[in-house]
């Protein structure tokens, strides 16, 4: 398949370059930016929280990711908003925040703030990033990875219900979902080298390793060292795995 020059993509690429410059200034030591909105964020290369009112939840998360912001779901009861649509965000639409900030996205839940009947362990973890990093299968059993500080006892009844009698295990992670999601968001800015924007790679939060997994066969040794130094055990590099559009 031939590569095509995409005029439509140029504005976004330009935005990425701008964001990348800003992030280099603020994140050179690898620290993550604060979650709270900063009044000076826009001026320092941040962005405004988009208006996501009544946008479908998945689409809202994608729009935030496109601006290098991290959407964190919170299901709420709101009779005036159809289930699955965004009720409001925190910070509110228009607020200036720094790149990679967490934006809490309140979503009208099918059963209000309660979990829907029949929710699985995987779905429970997805719905509650405030408590869980995610789930994975190990030796035929579902393992639920929790954020640091999650009181499993408070969740036990819901976990048992979601497991529906199946065996499962709970494992505590050193790093929480929002911290890892911010690492992932930071990596999409691709500021670690002059050629970072030219390589292909995949990113995902790997709940089994409590880390963000970056898969690419195109990382240089220097890239790998820099990234590992910057993110430590929050980042898992898989340099044997190619990634690309098909």
């Amino acid at each position: 398949m031939s590569h095509r020059i995409r005029t439509a993509a140029l504005p976004l690429l330009a935005a990425l370059l701008v964001a990348g410059c800003a992030a280099r200034t603020g994140d050179a030591d690898g620290d993550l930016v604060a979650d709270a909105p900063s009044p000076t964020a826009a001026a320092s290369g941040g962005r405004a929280v988009p208006d996501l009112h009544r946008v479908a939840a998945d689409d809202a998360m994608k729009r935030l990711a496109g601006q290098q912001l991290v959407g964190q779901a919170r299901y709420v009861a709101d009779a005036g908003t159809p289930p699955g649509l965004v009720v409001r965000t925190e910070p509110a639409a228009g607020a200036a925040v720094a790149a990679n900030s967490v934006v809490v996205v309140e979503i009208s839940g099918e059963g209000g703030a309660e979990d829907p009947a029949g929710v699985t362990l995987g779905e429970l973890a997805e719905r509650h990033p405030e408590a869980f990093v995610g789930t994975f299968i190990e030796a035929g059993k579902t393992v639920v990875a929790t954020n640091p500080g999650t009181k499993v006892a408070d969740w036990r009844a819901r976990l048992d219900k979601a497991a529906a009698g199946a065996k499962y295990e709970v494992r505590a992670c050193k790093h929480g979902w929002s911290e890892l999601a911010q690492v992932k968001s930071t990596l999409t800015i691709r500021d670690w080298s002059a050629d970072a924007s030219k390589i292909s790679f995949g990113l995902e939060i790997d709940a089994s390793r409590c880390a963000v997994k970056l898969s690419s066969t195109q990382l240089t040794d220097a890239d790998a060292k820099l990234l590992q130094d910057r993110y430590g055990d929050r980042l898992l590099l898989d340099r044997n795995s190619s990634a690309g559009r098909t």
Binding site: S2, A8, L12, D58, D59, F201, G202, L203
Partner: protein
């Protein structure tokens, strides 16, 4: 030509009756239908709330069957039907010497359809051959408690199994007209009407009329929408999962699901945004499909549409190499982390199943930029599932033996093709403003 053992939804049935292959006015049918016909939805009589477009892009009145509970109930019913025709288990999933349709008819099973008016999954059979009471009891038992309000009905078909087997023989032999063997047509047995739906090219009008005269009420013949519909040269009506490219005979990517644009009802198919530019003329082999339309916010949204007013589309995807070779789209819903049995059907890798979803929030970055919120999935055996050329491919699960639930659209791979990266179906429908045809 493959005889398609798929039971299309009432929408498709009505479309055929109106001279179109898909869509059409659901209410433009005779008010009084025979009891043997599974009635199409009376959309104009539904309330505004029932006609509302839901976040999952289905119309509200469809939720009884497109929701998770309805899909589970449907899967249970389909499994019961399949078990009532034990020969199907050894028929290489439709690729055996005798078609699944013929094997089913020998057991008196015509198929299944969906009655949106009564919220019923309708099993259509010939009570003189099949033990319909026992079949109904088994289907009701299998689906009991899975979906509140969903009924299972067993109905006598409009034609006997023997008459339909006779008609099938005529169609298979292709001897009803001197040019029958050279004509292009698409054929399948539609359970809702107990008729073979057959679409011919307009150039084969004489062949079509001859078949209509020969088979009478056992067949519904239409013109203007037929062609050999393998995935590499996908003719009318177009299916998802087709090999497509810019211009004729230059397939580079794969179409996803057939869809309806919400703003104007225009039909078409989804695919990956990086494959094409807006305005490109898209073909499958030598067959024109439409114009690439609607791509924006790429690369965060790696998705686009191929639309055309002059083409016809069926709610069907190619899933060859086998087992079966096509599936009917009956719903759309995102998978969850841990969802198993997921499939992807690209033009290079063909249909690959047994995929387990590990994440719904993956990113794929390259020189174009990053795409977020991706479904990540792989097979336990690390088999290759997604290769260059598969982009756009339908990602689906299999609620029944011949049906598919739309889950996403492939855009890329990791780990040398053993891990797929796909846009979620909810994001595809929301961003492109379309509804998956069912």
């Amino acid at each position: 030509m493959q005889l398609r053992n798929a039971s299309l939804s009432a929408f498709a049935v009505l479309g055929l009756a109106g001279g179109l292959l898909v869509g059409g006015a659901a209410d433009a049918v005779p008010a009084a239908l025979p009891a043997c016909v599974v009635a199409p939805p009376k959309i104009s009589s539904f309330s505004a709330a029932d006609r509302a477009l839901l976040p999952d892009q289905h119309l509200a009145f469809e939720q009884w069957i497109t929701g998770d509970a309805g899909q589970k109930a449907n899967a249970a019913v389909q499994d019961t039907i399949a078990k009532s025709v034990p020969e199907l288990a050894n028929n290489n999933d439709g690729k055996g010497p005798v078609s699944d349709t013929e094997l089913s008819l020998r057991r008196g099973i015509i198929g299944s359809a969906y009655d949106h008016n009564s919220h019923s999954i309708v099993v259509v059979a010939d009570g003189k051959v099949a033990d319909t009471a026992a079949l109904g009891a088994k289907a009701r038992s299998a689906s009991a408690g899975l979906a509140a309000g969903v009924q299972v009905d067993v109905r006598q078909g409009c034609s006997s199994a023997a008459d339909l087997l006779d008609a099938l023989g005529v169609i298979k032999r292709r001897d009803w007209h001197p040019q029958a063997k050279s004509a292009s047509f698409v054929s399948y047995l539609d359970a809702a009407t107990s008729t073979f739906q057959i679409s011919f090219d307009a150039a084969d009008k004489a062949v079509a009329e001859s078949l209509r005269a020969r088979l009478g009420s056992r067949v519904t013949v239409t013109l203007g929408g037929a062609g050999r519909t393998d995935r590499f040269n996908d003719g009318r009506p177009h299916f998802g999962g087709s090999a497509i490219g810019v211009g004729a005979n230059d397939n580079i990517c794969t179409s996803g699901f057939t869809v309806r644009r919400n703003s104007d009802g225009m039909r078409g198919e989804t695919t990956a945004g990086h494959c094409f530019n807006n305005g490109d003329a898209i073909y499958s082999g030598s067959k024109f499909h439409g114009t690439a339309t609607g791509e924006y916010d790429y690369p965060n949204y790696d998705m686009t549409l191929v639309l055309s007013n002059s083409e016809t589309w069926s709610p069907i995807i190619h899933v060859d190499p086998c087992c079966p070779d096509t599936r009917t789209q009956t719903g759309a819903a995102n998978p969850s982390v841990g969802t198993t049995g997921v499939c992807i059907s690209g033009m290079v890798s063909l249909s690959r199943c047994g995929i387990t979803i590990s994440s719904l929030d993956g990113n794929l970055c390259d020189q174009d930029g990053c795409t977020s919120g991706l479904i990540i999935g792989a097979r336990a055996d690390n088999g290759i599932i997604d290769q260059p050329g598969d982009s756009g491919a339908p990602v689906y699960t299999r609620p029944g033996s011949s049906t598919a639930t739309a889950r996403g659209g492939g855009i890329g791979q990791k780990n040398n093709g053993t891990i797929m990266c796909a846009e979620r179906i909810s994001n595809i429908t929301a961003h492109l403003g379309v509804t998956v045809l069912t």
